[in-house]
């Protein structure tokens, strides 16, 4: 995997965000973290990442709102988006996929699986 791949991820649970950052950076990705959905679209426009990882349930601005913004902007709509959501909110996954998300991961999740899915998505592009 090339070291130049950049991932923007939005996750409000601080420790989980730290762990994901640790795991993904170890795999050679550049990580840009947002603690909520606020500023993510602007971040994507600015950094043009290779992938966006979005937690659905976040304060102030949720993941689905961000996803809608990303997919409605033609200059960034092609960037794959992976959703992270709690098992109990499975219904949001369908909505997310309808809105154009590439994949989803349900919490509780195995970080190894998440890394593999991200690698696969990036490999297929």
């Amino acid at each position: 995997m090339s070291n130049s791949k950049t991932i923007i991820f939005a996750e409000d649970t601080v420790h989980i965000a730290q762990l994901l950052k640790f795991k993904l950076e170890k795999e050679g990705f550049n990580l840009i973290h947002f603690p909520s959905g606020v500023g993510v679209t602007e971040g994507v426009l600015k950094y043009k990442p290779d992938l966006v990882l979005l937690d659905i349930m976040m304060p102030v601005k949720d993941g689905l709102t961000v996803l809608k913004e990303l997919k409605s902007n033609p200059s960034i709509a092609h960037i794959p988006v992976v959703l992270l959501t709690a098992n109990s909110h499975e219904e949001y996954v369908i909505k997310g996929l309808q809105l154009g998300a590439t994949d989803y991961i349900l919490k509780p999740f195995a970080s190894a699986e998440l890394v593999l899915r991200i690698k696969n998505i990036l490999k297929m592009r």
Partner: protein
């Protein structure tokens, strides 16, 4: 004059005493805030030091005992609170390694001693973390705690046993829950839904002989939560004779979730149930489980005395019967003074806005 002086003295003394009390309270609040701030800082320092160590431990072959032995007893709860989110949100190897920090170290001994203490606060904290870490060693103590007279101890022990997926305790949880008036159906459901779907088989066996309507209702809600299709036939038998509104409504929702088409016959009768909530739920379910043979019955419900039933009748007709939207539109705008037509107009406007 003499009396006036006394009153003034009394007032002065009272004000002085109140000032002293206020002063003590303010000092106490300030001290508590300082203490809380100090503890928060200590916890942040602890995390700053230990986060990297824990992440490295996840990637290495380091034994959990080696890592935890470096932590002093006074800081156990810093580690436990730090692990909390991970234990809730991770599975697989990460979960195994992180839960081993509790289950295979002196932390487990510490928590078990807290669990055996007489303090409900300590018991609740210990039960919470032992449950999160799925500590099998705590099972027998937790089972005993289900018989506690303290409701919070009962609830925290039940939750821990559910997280441990201790199927043997399910009926003990039901039995003991009845002792507490304020242990609600929702709190029991929240606890029992922490079990895996393995809970469904024993619940199904029990449902066949269960007479308590609260347990029936909770059981059927859990079947819905786990999408336990095998319970369809048994629940269908219950809905036919049940007089309990909750049991009927939960059964209908369950049929809808598992798309149990066989239940349509029962719904045909229940569409005229005396309770409006049941009629409204039947109509909602018919959008999934019904067919065109229900059309006239659903039209009839548009004249139901209850608003929610009328509303559901219109939405179900639109979803269920192809081309019905035009028919409803003609009805809605051709009968301007009719109440059912007014509701139909409202549903149609809502659909237009959504589209």
């Amino acid at each position: 004059m003499f009396i006036h002086l006394d009153i003034f003295t009394f007032l002065a003394l009272t004000i002085f005493a109140l000032l002293i009390i206020t002063y003590i309270l303010v000092i106490q609040v300030v001290l508590l805030r300082l203490l809380h701030g100090y503890q928060a800082k200590q916890e942040q320092k602890f995390i700053a030091v230990w986060e990297g160590k824990i992440f490295n431990y996840l990637e290495s072959d380091e034994k959990p005992v080696t890592l935890v032995k470096k932590i002093r007893r006074g800081k156990y709860f810093y580690l436990l609170r730090y692990l909390r989110e991970f234990l809730l949100m991770l599975k697989g190897d990460d979960f195994k390694k992180l839960s081993a920090l509790i289950n295979e170290t002196k932390l487990q001994r510490f928590l078990l001693s807290q669990l055996k203490s007489g303090s409900p606060k300590k018991i609740n904290e210990a039960a919470y973390f032992l449950g999160l870490a799925k500590s099998v060693a705590s099972r027998s103590v937790l089972q005993k705690k289900l018989r506690s007279q303290n409701a919070s101890v009962f609830l925290s022990s039940a939750l821990a046993l559910a997280r441990l997926n201790d199927i043997d305790s399910v009926f003990d949880i039901f039995r003991n829950a009845r002792r507490f008036k304020f242990v609600s159906k929702d709190s029991l459901l929240a606890i029992l839904s922490e079990y895996s779907n393995e809970i469904c088989k024993p619940l199904l066996l029990n449902l066949k002989k269960e007479k308590n309507t609260l347990i029936q209702s909770i059981t059927i809600t859990l079947f819905r939560h786990f999408k336990f299709y095998q319970a369809g036939e048994t629940v269908l038998k219950i809905i036919v004779y049940s007089q309990n509104k909750d049991v009927i409504i939960e059964s209908i929702k369950f049929f809808c979730t598992i798309e149990f088409v066989k239940s349509a016959t029962a719904l045909r009768t229940l569409i005229n149930h005396p309770k409006a909530e049941v009629r409204a739920e039947v109509l909602k379910a018919l959008a999934v489980l019904g067919d065109e043979t229900f059309e006239q019955r659903i039209w009839d419900r548009m004249y139901d005395p209850e608003y929610e039933v009328q509303y559901n009748a219109v939405t179900t007709l639109i979803k269920l019967i192809p081309g019905s939207e035009e028919k409803i539109s003609n009805f809605a705008y051709g009968n301007l003074k009719d109440r059912a037509a007014a509701i139909a107009r409202m549903v149609l406007s809502e659909r237009n806005i959504k589209n």
